[in-house]
Structures are given as C-alpha cells and as structure tokens.
C-alpha cells in the first residue's frame, strides 16, 4: 500500500463536498436545515465568551450577568447575540420542522432521523430553559421555579426528576450549579453528537426528494449550497446584532426566594404549554402534553398507519396546520395578556 492510498483526499472531498443536492433546495424555504446548526455554532462561541465572566453561584450569578451587560466591553453585544441566538434557534428549528413535516421528509427510511430531530428540539428547549435560569434575576428565578414545578407532575418519576434537577426543595445553589452543568456541558455535548448523527444520516439516506417529484437535476453541495449557508450565517449575525441594538438584553431585580412576584411566567417558547396547563386541570394538561410528545416523536409511523386507513386524508397538512395555529394563538395570547 503506497502512501497515496493511505488517505485519499479526493474521495473525502467527493464525499463531503460533492454530495448531490436536489434542485428544489435552491428555494430558501427548503434550505433552512442548516440554520439551527449555524445558530448552534454562534451559541457555542458566544457561550464560551460569556463563561469568562459568568459565575454560577446565587450570590454572584446576577451580579456577573449585570457586569457582563453593563461593564464588560461589548458584553451586552455578546449577551445579546447569545440571547437572540437562542430565540432564533427555536424559531429556526420550528421552520426546519415545518418544512420537513409538510414535505413528509420523515417518511421511510428517515423515521429515525425525525426522532433524532425531535430529540434535538427538546434539547434546544432544554438549553433555552437552563440558560434563562442562569441569569438569576426575579423573572428567571421564578420562571425556573414554575418550569421545574411542571416536572413534578410527570407520572411516577415526577418527584424524582424534580429533586434531581433542583437538588433540594426549592430553586437554590444546587439548582444553579446543576443547570449550569446542563447548559454548558451535558446538553451542548448531547446536541453536538445528535447533530453529527443527524447529518450523517442525511448523508447516508441522501437529501430527501419531494414526495412524488424526483428532481431531474441535482447540484453539488459545494460551492452553491455552502454559500447558501454562509449567506444565512451572515444574515443571522446581522439580524441578531440589529435585534441586540434595538432590544438589548435586560436584567431585572435580583432573585429573591422570599418575594414571589405577582405574575410569574416562563420564556415565550413555553407559553403555549403554559397556556394549556393554566386552563385545563394540571393532571389532564400534563397527560395531554405527554400524549402530544409521543405522537410528535412517533409521527412518521402514526402517519403511515393513518394513510393506510384513510388514504385520501392529508393528515400531516391538517394536524400540522392546527398545531401551528394553536401554538401561535396561545403564544400570542400569553404575550399580550401581561
């Protein structure tokens, strides 16, 4: 075996850069899968910068966030990028899921990748939730309290999970250090591994074609699709910077476990869940949520069964539209109500 064959760069290049992309992907709406990934990279970079000053202790967490926001040079920008990055990441995941869902890209053989995607969606929300709790102001402290309270309602293991997360009866120093660990080590590492798996599976299966319409033409991953990604990255950086300038990240009163604010609410991506839990009995609400999660996770198989039984009904259009509309209505209602 000569040296030339030891590492065949040409083959690697081919495998990575020459992946054939179907023509329909030139439409921007079909090319959003890379957006959450780009945002994830941004989050990692800005997150590392934030940990330079952030101190995960009840006495210093709030002060260090305040210090980052008000004193550190460009600290408000980095924190703004991180905050808006997290918000946009949730939106980007939604958009990617909308595309995948309505094009039924989860259909065989890509069911596993859908499940991995759903898992990544939960991890993204977990990252948002744990990240928000690290600010340790009144809003964040009590959002963490109500957020973790919900966990208690999970059947059988609820109390155990709650205790495991909080490290005690109330949100305290143990919760903060646990959440810090989850936010900077466990969840990002898990997400990174799942992203890798997700992309590998995409490559193994090939980029999905539209259902029933096989694109005649394909184009190579590099350069056009890579540039697509680069444009999205630059666009996102601009948007996040602009949002940071217009709506800079704020910080409220320091957390005070003895003073419960009049209105406690979680971050906006949980508004819809919060709405449901508020207006139906708690046990029923939790049960509904669990049912929804199970349906969502195993949708590719459920969809297949439904299609066999009712071949004429476009279940994914109906259910997808209802879920999105309800989600939007609940979210907007919670936003405007306080």
């Amino acid at each position: 075996m000569n040296e030339k064959n030891l590492i065949d760069f040409r083959k690697i290049k081919q495998a990575i850069l020459d992946e054939p992309i179907p023509m329909h992907m030139k439409n921007w709406f079909y090319a959003l899968g890379v957006t959450p990934f780009i945002l994830f990279i941004f989050q990692v970079l800005t997150g590392i910068l934030l940990t330079i000053y952030y101190v995960p202790s009840p006495e210093l967490a709030y002060k260090s966030v305040k210090y980052i926001t008000e004193e550190v040079r460009l600290g408000f920008w980095i924190r703004g990028l991180h905050r808006w990055g997290s918000n946009l990441m949730v939106v980007a995941v939604f958009l990617h899921m909308v595309r995948v869902f309505f094009t039924r890209a989860y259909r065989r053989p890509r069911e596993l990748n859908w499940i991995i995607g759903v898992l990544m969606f939960f991890i993204t929300l977990g990252l948002c939730f744990t990240g928000y709790s690290l600010i340790y102001d009144q809003l964040s402290y009590w959002a963490t309290t109500v957020g973790t309270n919900m966990i208690k309602e999970i059947p059988i293991f609820g109390s155990l999970f709650l205790h495991l997360l909080r490290g005690g009866e109330i949100v305290s120093v143990n919760t903060l250090t646990r959440f810090f660990n989850l936010h900077v080590i466990f969840l990002p590492t898990s997400l990174l591994m799942l992203i890798a798996l997700h992309i590998i599976l995409v490559r193994v299966h090939g980029v999905s074609q539209l259902e029933g319409i096989e694109d005649d033409e394909v184009y190579k991953f590099y350069p056009e699709h890579v540039y697509h990604g680069a444009i999205i990255a630059l666009f996102l950086l601009t948007v996040m910077s602009a949002l940071t300038v217009v709506l800079p990240p704020g910080i409220g009163e320091p957390a005070d476990p003895n003073v419960t604010p009049l209105h406690i609410k979680p971050e906006w991506y949980f508004f819809a869940i919060y709405f449901v839990l508020k207006y139906v009995p708690l046990k029923l609400g939790i049960t509904l949520m669990l049912i929804f999660l199970i349906i969502m996770t195993f949708w590719p198989f459920i969809d297949e069964l439904l299609r066999k039984k009712f071949p004429q009904v476009k279940w994914h259009y109906i259910l997808g539209s209802i879920v999105i509309l309800l989600f939007l209505i609940f979210t907007v209602y919670e936003t405007v109500s306080y």
């Binding site: 439409n27 709406f29 079909y30 959003l32 905050r83 808006w84 918000n87 946009l88 949730v90 939106v91 939604f94 958009l95 909308v98 595309r99 309505f102 094009t103 809003l139 539209l210 259902e211 029933g212 319409i213 949002l243 217009v246 709506l247 800079p248 990240p249 704020g250 910080i251 409220g252 009163e253 604010p261 009049l262 209105h263 971050e267 906006w268 508004f271 259009y317 997808g320 539209s321 999105i324 939007l328 979210t331 907007v332 936003t335 306080y338």
Partner: protein, 566 residues
C-alpha cells in the same frame, strides 16, 4: 404528486414559515423589552377596582392612584381598601358618595400596624412619637398667633399626632402617601422638612458635612430604595440621615426607633444623658454603642470614639455656658431688672427658658433654642460651621450682650466685667478639652491660644473637669480611658513635641508678602475726592456755594412766572 399538490405544499410551508418567523420574532422582541422594563405589573382587583374607576371617572385624587401604582403595596396587591377600611363608628368612617363602601379617611398607625407591627411599635417608642408634647406645652403660644402655630409648629410636630384610636404617629411624614417610598424616606430632605432652620439645622449640618457632600456627588448612582435587612451590609457607600439613625448593618438591626442610638438629650435647655425608655432600650452607653456600631461600618473604631468623645465634651461645655446665662438672668430677675409675664396670678414665662419681652430673656432663649443647639448638634454631626460661627460664636455674643445689658442697667458685677481688660474675661466658666482631635496630629495648632500659653495649670483644670464628668456618669469608662490615653501622651496628640517650624516659617514669609501687598494696595490709600459728610461741629458738608447758586439759577429760570407767559 401533481403540480397543484406541490403548490399547496409550497404555499403552506411559505405561509407558516413567514408566520412563525414574524410572529415569534415579535413575541421574542416584546418579551425581551418586558425583561428590560423595571416597571412592575400592577393588578387592580375587587373593591379596589371600583375605587380606581370611580376616582378616575370623577377626577378625585387621581394622582394618588398613580402614586399607589408605584408603591410596593401595588406590586403586592395591597389596594385602597386594605388601608382605608373602616368599621361603623370609627372616628373617620364615611360612606364614599354614591356607594355603599365604608371607608376610613385617615389610615392611622393602627392600620399600618396590621402589616408593619414592628415598625409601628418601634416608632411609638421613639422621641418622634413624643413630639406632640411640644404642642401641648406650646411655649410660643403667647408670643405668636395660634393660626401660625397650626401651620408652623404643628405641621412638623404632627409626626406624633395622637389619634382618636389612640395610635400615635404619622407614618407618611416620612413615607409619602401613596407611594410610601423607602427611597423618599431615606432622602435627607425628607428629614430636612422638619430638621431645618435656625433652631435645629440638621439638614444644613448634614449637607455641609463630608457625608452630605459625598451624598450629593454620588446620589444619582445610589439606589436608596433598598430594604435594610438585619445583619446585612449597608448597600450604599455614604450615609444619609436614615442610615445612621435607622438602617441595620452587619451588627445592628434596623429600627424605626430614632432614639435607640442617641446618647444625649441635646435639644433640651441642658445637655444631659438620655434616660428615654432605658428599661427597654438600655442606658445611654448602650445607645451610643449602637450608633458607633453603624459608624464603624465605614470608620476606624478609634476615629469614631475620639470624634464622639470630643462632641460629648462640646455638649458638656455648653452646659457650663448655660450655667453662666442662668446665673445672670436669675440675678437680674431677683434684682427686679427683668420680670416674668403674669396674668390672674399665673406666670406665663420663665426667665431661664422662655421669656419674650426683655432683652436678657431673648438672649437666654436664643442661647438655648437656637445657637445652643447649633453648637451641640453641629459638633455631633460634623457641621464645623455650625459648631463654630452659627454656634459658639453667637453663644459668646449673646453672653457678652447679656452681661453688657446688666452693666447698662446698673449691675456692679457686670460693670466690673465690662471694664475688665483681662483676656480671660470671655471664659467666665470652667472648660473641657481633649488633647488634639480625631483627624491627625498638628504641631502648629496648639501654640497660640491664650489659655494654653498663659496658664500652666490649664490641663490640670481640664483634667479635674473631665474626671468629674466621668465620675458623674456623663462620660463612660471607655471614654475616660480614651481621654486619659491622650492626656498622658498629650505632647504627641497636641503635636507640641514635634517641630514643624520650618514649614511654619515658610508660610510666615508668604504671610508677610501678603500683608505687605495689602498695605501697599489698599490700607494706606486715600482718595483725592472729599467725602460728603464731614462730622465737624458747626460745619454742614454739602455742595459748594458756586454749585448751589448755579442750581438755584436754573430752577428760577425754569419756574419763573414770566417764562411761562412770554
């Protein structure tokens, strides 16, 4: 998949992508904005909703609602009726017009105590709660019309209003209704609403002190709205009035009893160690220790103790001045030179406290109630100018005037004093002193004063006085030891053992240059134009004859009867 199907799919993806992006980014933006807002969410519920809507509609006390919305009460959902509730028969109960809501017009400390019991109790045990006494006595009521007392004395002394429900006090004297703001209560000007003016210029003293000066420089960066928690660090870097007299620190609980940390009754005619509720609050040494514990949050212990010891000696010195005043007015009264006011066999003035119609009585009153207090309060609160020029200087002036008045009215002893040419005549009383001061060692300060230099037994006399005050319990054991420490090493503390003559000589030269310049420039100058008034007998200074003639001529021309008719 047909083309229609594809179009539907694209349309759905497009619409939902745009909808999700736009709506969710706006939602995220709104939430981000809310997180930067410091204004809390206020919810008006129940009866309060009716109060707010009716008052808003009728335009009655609408500002009060806005103020309430700023309050912690509003945040904690404590509304109008929680404080304004009333029962039938309450002294201030009335039905709100056109409604069936019974409300109390004046929430009293009894109402506040439902939630703030500790604060109300502490207040009731403070001298703030005792101020009605002055209205009851009303020593000025014969000197000024009652209507002025209503808006004068009573407005401030109402802080201890005794309500028909027997509760005492006016919480909103400091916590303005309806915000009941802690920040406003801590603002020095809040105390200064009453603690101001010639009789107790506390706000002026504070603002002239280093404390007040730093406060003014930094007040914009300070948040006075903090909750003063027991055994927590004081969160501001310079004290306001409330910090020292009320706030807690690492060692002291916060208190609404402003008397809990005061060691003197220095508003009184004599300075004496307080015995106010000492069975509950401890004696004056315990009260002083509380105050010192607060001072020591920022200052070194020895500085604090020396500072207070010096201020205590000022208070004791005041008593010695007063003793001389009392001696003279009593003597003048006994000799029939001044008399008390009297009607129907009842006396309406007291020569040693509040006489009004004779000069010595006025001087006596001012020497206590105005300059006497300024002297003492300036000393205890770092108002140098009030200890000095508004204090002792005016006190001494009053004393000189009093003795001079006595001499003019034939008192032989006073005449002797007036005729005396001895420099010690201004010290007709024993004196207190302390070697040096709290701030440092100054080798130049103690070389000039007359008494130091001319009386070898100066410090022996002072020693006897301070020791006597200590033995009488007017100074503590610790203070006496601190005084002795300085006394036994007074050459060091007075700086007399150090030689800074070279520095002194340098400035002496500069002084000489200044004096020479002053003499050359202005002292020996005489203007060539004569003054208009020349006080020589028989000569009336005025315009020269020539000028008078010219002026008369012009007047005649102007007013001659012919000039008008020709």
């Amino acid at each position: 998949m047909d083309k229609n199907e594809l179009r539907t799919q694209k349309l759905l993806i497009g619409i939902f992508s745009i909808l999700l992006t736009v709506v969710l980014v706006i939602v995220a933006g709104v939430e981000a904005k809310k997180s930067t807002e410091t204004k809390p969410v206020i919810e008006v519920t129940g009866v309060n909703k009716r109060c707010v809507s009716c008052h808003t509609e009728k335009g009655i006390a609408v500002k009060a609602i806005d103020q309430w919305k700023e309050s912690q009460h509003a945040i904690k959902n404590i509304g109008c009726i929680d404080c304004h509730k009333a029962e039938k028969g309450d002294f201030d109960a009335f039905y709100c017009p056109d409604s069936d809501i019974l409300v109390g017009r004046h929430p009293t400390p009894k109402d506040c105590a439902e939630c703030h019991q500790q604060q109300v109790e502490e207040f009731a045990q403070s001298k703030h709660a005792h101020q009605f006494w002055i209205i009851k006595n009303d020593d000025r009521s014969i000197f000024e019309p009652t209507i002025t007392t209503r808006h004068g004395c009573e407005q401030c002394h109402n802080i201890s209003i005794v309500w028909p429900d027997k509760s005492v006090g006016e919480c909103d004297a400091c916590h303005p209704k309806h915000t009941f703001s802690r920040a406003v209560a801590r603002q020095p000007e809040t105390c200064g609403e009453c603690h101001i003016g010639p009789d107790h210029p506390h706000i002026e003293i504070y603002l002239e002190s280093k404390h007040g000066n730093i406060f003014r420089a930094k007040e914009k960066q300070m948040n006075l709205n903090y909750a003063s928690k027991d055994l927590k660090k004081i969160p501001i870097e310079v004290p306001t009035c409330a910090t020292c007299h009320m706030d807690g620190n690492e060692t002291q609980p916060s208190t609404h009893n402003v008397s809990a940390r005061l060691a003197w009754e220095s508003q009184a005619a004599w300075s004496y160690r307080t015995v106010w509720l000492q069975d509950k609050l401890g004696d004056w040494t315990i009260k002083r220790a509380r105050m010192e514990a607060i001072c020591k949050s920022c200052h070194a212990p020895e500085f604090v103790e020396t500072y207070f010891l010096t201020a205590d000696l000022v208070n004791l010195q005041y008593n010695e001045l007063r003793r001389v005043f009392v001696y003279w007015v009593k003597k003048l009264n006994k000799n029939g030179l001044i008399k008390e006011l009297e009607a129907n066999g009842k006396k309406y003035s007291d020569v040693v406290l509040n006489g009004w119609d004779e000069e010595p009585e006025h001087l006596m009153y001012h020497a206590w109630h105005h300059e006497g207090r300024r002297f003492r309060h300036g000393a205890i609160m770092m108002g140098a100018d009030y200890t000095q020029w508004h204090g002792i200087w005016e006190l001494q002036n009053d004393l000189v005037e009093l003795i001079r008045w006595a001499a003019e009215h034939g008192d032989p002893e006073a005449k002797q004093w007036v005729n005396s040419r001895h420099p010690s005549k201004f010290m007709p009383y024993p004196i207190y002193d302390i070697p040096g001061n709290a701030w440092g060692i100054n080798p130049l300060a103690n070389k000039v004063p007359f008494l130091y230099v001319n009386y070898d037994d100066y410090w022996d006399r002072v020693y006897q006085n301070v020791k006597y005050a200590y033995e009488k319990g007017l100074l503590s054991e610790k203070q006496w030891q601190l005084w002795l420490k300085r006394y036994n090493n007074k050459e060091h503390y007075l700086g007399t053992k150090y030689n800074a003559d070279s520095v002194y000589n340098y400035y002496l030269q500069l002084n000489a240059i200044d004096t020479k310049a002053m003499n050359e420039q202005v002292v020996n100058m005489q203007l060539p134009g004569k003054p208009f008034y020349q006080p020589r007998p028989g000569v009336i200074a005025g315009p020269s004859e020539k000028v008078i003639k010219q002026q008369l001529g012009r007047k005649e021309e102007k007013y001659s009867p012919e000039s008008g008719t020709k």
